[in-house]
Amino acid sequence: MDLQTLLSFHWDTMMPEFIILISATVLSLIDLFIGRSFSRKFFGWASFIAVVAALVSLISLSDHGVTTILNNSYVFDSFSIVFKAILLIGTALVILMAISDKFENIEEVKSEYFYLLMTGLLGAMFMSSSGDLITLFIGLELLSISSYILVAIRKENSKSNEAAMKYIINGSIASAILLFGLSYIYGLTGSTDLAAVQQIVSTLSGTELSGLLGLSFLFIIVGFTFKIAAAPFHMWAPDVYQGASTPVAAFLSVVSKSAGFIIIIRVLLNIYAGAYSPDGQLPLLINMQNYIFTISAITIILGNAVALMQTNIKRMFAYSSVAHAGYILVPLAAVSPLLFENIWFYLLAYTVTNIGAFAVIQYVVSDENNENIEAFRGLYKRKRSMAIALLFFLISLAGIPGTVGFIAKLQIIASALANNPINITIVVIMILGTLVSYFYYFRVIAEMFFKGDRLELQPPKNEIPFNLIVVIGVCVAATIVLGLMPNLALDNFYKLFS
């Protein structure tokens, strides 16, 4: 490959990645070279601006056609644009949250925080643009390793360390399983290029080869369940969310989870939708549907049931996040033809509502210095705006009409049923799971609105920081506006795919 070919690629389509990469590098260098006494307050806003700039450049690129760089290892298509938008929005909001994240004994937020968030984001963006198993794996690991450090960032806190340890051990096992599966795909097709793989698997037939391909499917899907916090690899989530600081938990539950789903879609649709099952009748994906169905059902049931038992708000949200992963798996389990937009919209909805909820949690938890649900007692009387904002987020997570969460669930259910009435089983599980989820979401609502003696309640010690106001404001607005006019988002989505 000479310079000529190298220059002939459309590097401009990687603009968003470059912006993130350069700003992360520059910030880490600045951090290295400026003295200890210098304030690093500007790091947060600088990285926020970088992410927003990346988002803007991504939007400006949206008319750009499909481009591939370096033998398909980087693909720029509508799929990557829409999902990267979610990742960027999610990270921007998380960075805003992180700006006012206070650790024990430490006045100022750590500067590593921000560039690690950005490298994690970079990994996630690479995952959504990857057209090759190698870039896919590298992106995944970049995201994972950044997340491991982010979880451990409160290094004086033994809980944080323990959470990070759990995360990294489980994560490494999951990546090893995933990698083992990927190695079989390479073995069967002789290529790591997803487009080439797709072509070759469609010619593969014969029981043994297809059987091996199916086996690799199991390795890969189980490996990915770690990233999306779905059963069987969901058990790290509660411990890690509890141990990590709130913005990191938000990052894991939103950005990391979205990245996991993006990669699942990429891999499953590219590799397994075109392959034949061992009996040679159906596409392999249809044959493997039952496994996704099982994973989804277990995830929904377990996530919701265990969430009922929780007293720690972050653990409860961790289990709720597990349950949501189960809901998002439903379109995959149903192999619904609309799974792109279903998953995309659900992830968007989940991003705005969950980050909003975590922002409120961050404020309340740090103000009360208590992570239990009791910390929310009488919040309506103490800080009305916060209570109302959290109310919106919770009813959106619960999927009550008028909020974006409802539309997202409705889409999933409607398209799963329209595709094949037999999917009513998984839909019913989803609905029953949602019903159970009302109980724990409403426990928080009841705590905020109905409990607490007016006289005993203390007003909050701290004012709401400006950055959290922005996050919560944006999230509330998005939750309601998209709940009433989902077409605002969906029209843009369809425009890209038309």
């Binding site: 059987g211 086996l215 058990m235 509660p238 049931a305 265990v306 969430a307 009922l308 929780q310 077409n487």
Partner: protein
């Protein structure tokens, strides 16, 4: 006018937003604003009803969301049934608004109360004009939310909080049934539109079992909202809310939503005999079940609550026995007289500050107007001849009889007897006899309370005449214009009319003997000093007979039903919640905190997958 019917729900929403956002701390202005909006809503609804009476139905829709090839629309529809409902809801809502001006006086959250009323009214009106099942479902949920807020209005009371929560959860169980039913229809028809679903049913595109299943699932939703057995237990508890709320939500509107839903989806029910029978049996059982419990309640609002459950059972019975018009007719008259009764009860509670009817007495001297309107309401609900309840209940009895189900007919007849018995029990204990201590300081309420009651009293008396066999079946003609159902010509034997009259009068008479003359009390003390003893002592042999043939069996019967409730309802609920909690407990125990346990569980499931895969695709193991 009919074209701007969408304004009707929007106005209460505006009222809600304005009051909650700007007038939260201005109770006077807030309540006035809410009242103005409520009045305009009522006028609009009346105009729409008039417009519909003179003109045609209307359907307007806009595309909202596209899921693949399916387009989900939003819109509104005006037809005979829902224009009538619009009128009832906005009318009762307006009167309750006026009434609350005085009733809620002095409450420092008065504005919020009015705001919630607005929210609830919005949801209810929007529910009524929904042209498709999805929109219906959305507002159905919102109605639940409004009711939750209103029941829990006195949230500083533990009981109110618990009641609000219970109401929300119990109705949610029904809602899930409804949602699944809607989705089941959606999978079969590919649309949420009422019209398309009915067309599919008419054209025989759906198989019978699907229709039956979806009808029953929709009915489960109605069971939850309308407080039918076994999901009725929230309704009596919901009396923790302020009394005007009980009048609005738990008499005239929300609980009627279940009946309305069944009526609105009637073409589905009509083609499935199993679904109809289910509706009839549940309704019939609920009617007698609730009536027998109502007989022994001491709290005036709880008596009314059980009577509401019982009357809703009547409506369901009517719908289940092909009495579409009878059900809707009773819904209409019941809305007026039950709202009246609740408002009158509120007026009494307002004056005597207790809800225990055995502590009241002799109020007719001190609260003449309240006493009069309560009597009117009681006569109406008892089916006293020429009062509204008389005509509608007769319709129900006729439909039960003509459907050929004699057992249900006689149960309904007996329930009608119980109804007048327990309703007059309340009347006699509260208003007649010696003035009790609690009543001795009572004063008649002010005009804001009295005027709405008087207006409702007029309706409670005369609303029955919109559908009689003597003057004309206006309602029936109106409703059947565009209800997509087949009408069976029925010729009812005239003796039903006499039977209903006799039963009603017998109930009143029994009640007079038991409670008017003797003030029999079922209170705790009566267990040790049984009423039987005192009655025998006083040598009222006739009372003894009544006691033996009426009170005792009824009490036994009620005890039996109570047991069923405790066993079935409680048992099922406990089992379900137990299962969920068990799963939760297992899940949380597995979460041992040990890293390697997590990994082991994951790998174990992974290995299980591989095993299953290996077995199902045998080639791998070869």
């Amino acid at each position: 006018m009919i074209h701007s019917a969408w304004l009707i729900p929007v106005l209460p929403l505006l009222s809600f937003l304005i009051v909650i956002l700007f007038l939260r701390n201005k109770p006077k202005l807030g309540s006035l604003v809410a009242n103005c909006f409520s009045l305009i809503t009522f006028i609009l609804a009346t105009l729409v009803l008039v417009g519909r009476l003179q003109g045609d139905s209307l359907l307007r829709e806009w595309n909202w969301l596209e899921v693949g090839s399916t387009t989900i629309t939003l819109g509104f529809e005006i037809n005979a049934l829902n224009s009538l409902m619009l009128f009832i809801v906005s009318f009762v809502s307006f009167l309750v608004n006026v009434y609350s001006l005085e009733y809620m006086e002095g409450d420092d959250r008065k504005s919020i109360f009015f705001a919630y009323l607005g929210l609830f009214t919005f949801a209810m009106l929007a529910l009524v004009i929904s042209p498709n099942l999805l929109q219906t479902y959305i507002f159905w949920e919102l109605v639940g939310l409004g009711s939750f807020l209103l029941i829990g209005f006195y949230f500083y009371k533990d009981s109110a909080r618990a009641a609000a929560k219970k109401a929300f959860i119990m109705t949610r169980i029904g809602d899930v049934g409804l949602l699944i039913g809607i989705l089941l229809l959606f999978t079969q028809v590919g649309s949420f539109e009422y019209d398309e679903i009915f067309a599919a049913v008419r054209n025989g595109e759906l198989i019978g079992s699907v229709i039956t299943a979806s009808a029953i699932l929709i009915f489960i939703g109605a069971v939850g909202k309308s407080g039918q057995f076994p999901l009725h237990t929230w309704l009596p508890d919901a009396m923790e809310g302020p009394t005007p709320v009980s009048a609005l939500i738990h008499a005239a509107t929300m609980v009627a939503a279940g009946v309305y839903l069944v009526a609105a989806t009637y073409p589905l029910f009509e083609v499935s005999q199993i679904a109809l029978t289910t509706v009839a049996v549940v309704g019939c059982f609920t009617a007698i079940f609730a009536a027998s419990i109502g007989l022994f309640q001491k709290d005036i609002k709880r008596v009314l609550a059980y009577s509401t459950v019982s009357q809703l059972g009547f409506m369901m019975l009517a719908l289940g026995t092909s009495g579409y018009v009878a059900g809707v007719f009773h819904l209409t008259t019941h809305a007026f007289f039950k709202a009246l009764l609740f408002l009158a009860a509120g007026s009494v509670i307002h004056a005597v500050h207790t809800q225990d009817i055995e502590e009241m007495g002799g109020l007719n001297k001190r609260m003449k107007i309240t006493s009069l309107v309560f009597l009117i309401g009681t006569l109406a609900i008892s089916g006293f001849p020429l009062f509204s309840g008389f005509f509608s209940k007769e319709e129900i009895l006729i439909s039960a009889w003509t459907s050929g189900n004699e057992i249900m007919f006689f149960i309904a007849l007996f329930t009608a007897f119980l109804t007048s018995l327990y309703m007059f029990r309340v009347y006699f204990l509260v208003f007649t006899g010696e003035t009790s201590e609690a009543s001795s300081h009572a004063k008649e309420s002010g005009s804001a309370i009295l005027v709405p009651m008087l207006i409702l009293a007029v309706f409670a008396v005369f609303s029955g005449f919109i559908n009689t066999h003597w003057f004309g079946t206006y309602l029936s003609d109106f409703l059947l214009e565009d209800a997509q159902i087949t009408v069976k010509e029925t010729h009812a034997p005239t003796w039903i009319l006499y039977a209903a009259t006799i039963v009603s009068l017998a109930g009143i008479f029994t009640s007079y003997l038991l409670f008017g003359k003797n003030k029999t009390k079922f209170g705790e003390s009566s267990f040790s000093k049984s009423p039987v003893y005192s009655i025998v002592y006083n040598k009222y042999y006739i009372d003894e007979i009544y006691d033996a043939i009426v009170v005792k069996p009824t009490r036994l019967f009620a005890a039996g039903l109570k047991f069923i409730e405790w066993f079935c309802v409680g048992g099922i609920m406990k089992t379900i919640s137990g299962c969920i909690q068990f799963v939760g407990w297992i899940g949380s125990r597995l979460q041992s905190g040990k890293i390697q346990t997590y990994g082991t569980i994951a790998v174990f499931i992974f290995a299980l997958f591989i095993l299953v895969y290996g077995v199902t695709n045998g080639g791998l193991l070869k």
